[in-house]
Symmetry: C2
Subunit: 135 residues, 2 copies
């Protein structure tokens, strides 16, 4: 058994970042350096203030991001990825690599994509075979 039913890691992941907006917010922090409420509003995805507020709260509650005031400007709030949030990077990168392989429009940094491709895509069938045996 790869994992215990009712203790499914995919379900766990979906609970944390499994909605449309959360993953885009994390993406913007990770790859665009966004740190402020306004940054996310201006990202062009069309998120409304109430939804953004809600998602930032949830992500903070789950310790994916931290919220603090800018010491040099007390009215400015700064959002940052926590270690738990930064550790979502491998998930993002594997999505990148998959998209680069199947979305003709996606262009990702070659080094990153190459790394993932050899490390994980390369062993795909071997790993799937291992999994099949343990079902």
């Amino acid at each position: 058994m790869i994992y215990e039913p009712n203790q499914c890691p995919i379900r766990f992941g979906l609970g944390v970042f499994g909605d449309h907006w959360s993953l885009l917010i994390i993406r913007d922090m990770m790859f665009r350096g966004h740190t402020r409420f306004q940054d996310f509003l201006d990202a062009g995805e069309g998120i409304s203030t109430n939804v953004l507020s809600d998602r930032l709260s949830r992500l903070e509650a789950q310790q994916i991001i931290s919220r603090q005031k800018d010491p040099s400007n007390g009215r400015q709030v700064i959002y940052e990825l926590t270690d738990k949030g930064k550790d979502l990077l491998p998930i993002m990168l594997t999505i990148f690599a998959w998209a680069e392989k199947y979305d003709p429009k996606t262009r990702v940094s070659k080094e990153l994509a190459e790394r993932i491709r050899t490390d994980l895509f390369g062993a795909r069938d071997e790993i799937l075979a291992t999994i099949k045996q343990s079902i």
Copy 2:
């Protein structure tokens, strides 16, 4: 620039497997060996027939899964992952590894988790630093 705006790989991924049910269906095919309509209904997630039907159609349209009749039983339909679907494995595994790190209940095969951890978590900060420079 890591990727072109409006050509975002995360958006592309969300469009394919970004809803609650699709990822669970793919999981069941990948890690539980499910191949039949009834398998998914019985998976215990409580999906209804109309939604399941819809998701299977979409996944087939996106060539994540294939649909064919069982040659030995003409009334039995068999769903299988295509290569494009199998290539979602790295994404699944990185979610596994992340969940194992942060969800106390999740227990994943050690070898798989270890492989991902050293390959990708290990270089996390280094990669993030590279990204920051190119924003």
